[in-house]
Amino acid sequence: MNKFRLIIILCLLSCILHLPAFTLQAAGSITAVVTVQGTFNLMVNTDSFDFARLTPGQTGGMSRSEGVEVAGTSSGENPWYLKVSAEKPLTSGDNTIPNENFTWHGTSEGTGDWSGTQEKSLADPNVAAYMSSAEELDQVKKVINRFDFMLHVPEDTKPGEYSTTVKFTMTE
């Protein structure tokens, strides 16, 4: 009799333990959820560059012959823009070199609008260096742009070590 009760209890326990599995089998499917994260990415290949030694009246390019490479990628629906600016004029103590003398030009691997084919001044914050194309948005394509910077040192510039921060900005 005890054995019979034990068997019934074990059968009931087995049914209760397997109930979730039966439920799944009855439903015949499970729901899989995945969140695909958006890409809006800015890459810059250096944290500094210099113009070596320039004399007043001289115009020179950057020592870094390979330029500064800046890449952007977006999986969004809207076009993205890349801008380049200088935080402040090149400064050495109280002396400055106005940003009108600090210029850039370069090349782009993208199929969008690149404004660096002609020399541009860092004094103008309105011009986008690069505007993405519809094709690049569709393909979530990484676009590499190469910037070469030039500096003209005005005749009346005092000697010193001049510095500033060149900033690349990426937004929609």
């Binding site: 990415n41 890459m43 810059v44 560059f49 490479e69 969004g76 809207n78 590499i144 510095s163 990426m170």
Partner: protein, 284 residues
């Protein structure tokens, strides 16, 4: 006499992974390709990713909206990140010009709080930055801002290079949005067969919020539409006038045509049309 099979013996039909000369050669080629590729592809000192790249919110006056922006360091070095807001206006080329927070009449920068506002990210690390947008009790119309995430440069030699990436914020005040515009000054530049045809027009945003309008161009020959072309969206803030020029790539034969510009936004479509003539090419 049969030898007893020991654990060191291998059955005759077993597959033994032996690298033959061909395999070695293939491996060397793969290594060389990867090596060359790493030289061609530039290594990026800074690689910062954000999600989302824009936020659109509708708030009642006095209401608060909260959310998160994911900031990721995809680069190989630790970076310090500063989060802050700025205002923006549209530049003539359609890009955004960023200005000091609070300097635009359509700014909502001071309504946005960020937490944390500065943090460090190790390589491959990410951080969720919480934002709260608090609409004041007297809020009205549309407002914009940008939340920037900037890599802070501590140590450098020469001229420092930094990067910042932004989430654009569009805010509408519930119950107080008027999106209206005017399409004007349609001028068609067309001369002779084979020469490019271009349509010039202006769009004026005379509402009180941001408008992203979709232009659509139609060229009609008699009653029949022969060319239809969608152009890039025209984005404006209240009070902006945006002049556009759309070129028709397809060559048109000698004859009389009608050009129609349609601009659609917010369920409305503005139309403007004009007749033009293509003359016979002088070269023929």
């Amino acid at each position: 006499m049969k030898l007893p099979i020991t654990k060191f013996q291998v059955p005759i039909n077993a597959q033994i992974p032996i690298l033959k000369f061909g395999h070695c050669l293939l491996l060397i080629v793969i290594c060389l390709v990867i090596g060359a590729w790493s030289l061609v592809i530039p290594a990026f000192a800074l690689s910062i990713n954000i999600d989302p790249s824009n936020i659109k919110v509708v708030l009642k006056p006095g209401e608060t909206k909260t959310g998160e922006i994911l900031v990721q360091n995809f680069g190989g070095t630790k970076i310090k990140v500063k989060a802050y807001t700025e205002d923006w206006v549209y530049a003539p080329d359609g890009s955004k010009t960023f200005i000091r927070s609070g300097s635009s009449v359509y700014s909502c920068s001071s309504w946005i709080k960020l937490d944390p506002a500065s943090f460090e990210l190790a390589p491959k690390e990410d951080k969720k930055v919480k934002y709260s947008i608090i609409a004041p009790n007297n809020a009205s119309g549309g407002h914009v801002s940008v939340i920037f995430f900037e890599a802070v440069i501590d140590r450098y030699e020469g001229i420092a290079v930094s990067g910042r990436i932004g989430t654009i914020v569009y805010l509408d005040t519930e119950g107080d949005i008027k999106r209206s515009g005017e399409l004007k000054d349609l001028v068609i530049e067309a001369s002779e067969e084979g020469s490019p045809v271009s349509l010039n027009f202006s769009f004026v945003n005379n509402g009180n919020s941001h408008i992203s309008a979709q232009p659509n161009i139609k060229i009609m020959d008699g009653g029949k539409m022969i060319i239809e072309k969608k152009a890039k969206n025209i984005n404006t803030l209240p009070g902006d006038t945006k002049s556009s020029m759309i070129k028709i790539g397809e060559p048109l034969k000698e004859g009389k045509y009608k050009a129609q510009v349609e601009i659609s936004f917010d369920g409305k479509t503005l139309k403007s049309q004009s007749d033009f003539t293509i003359s016979k090419s002088a070269q023929k």
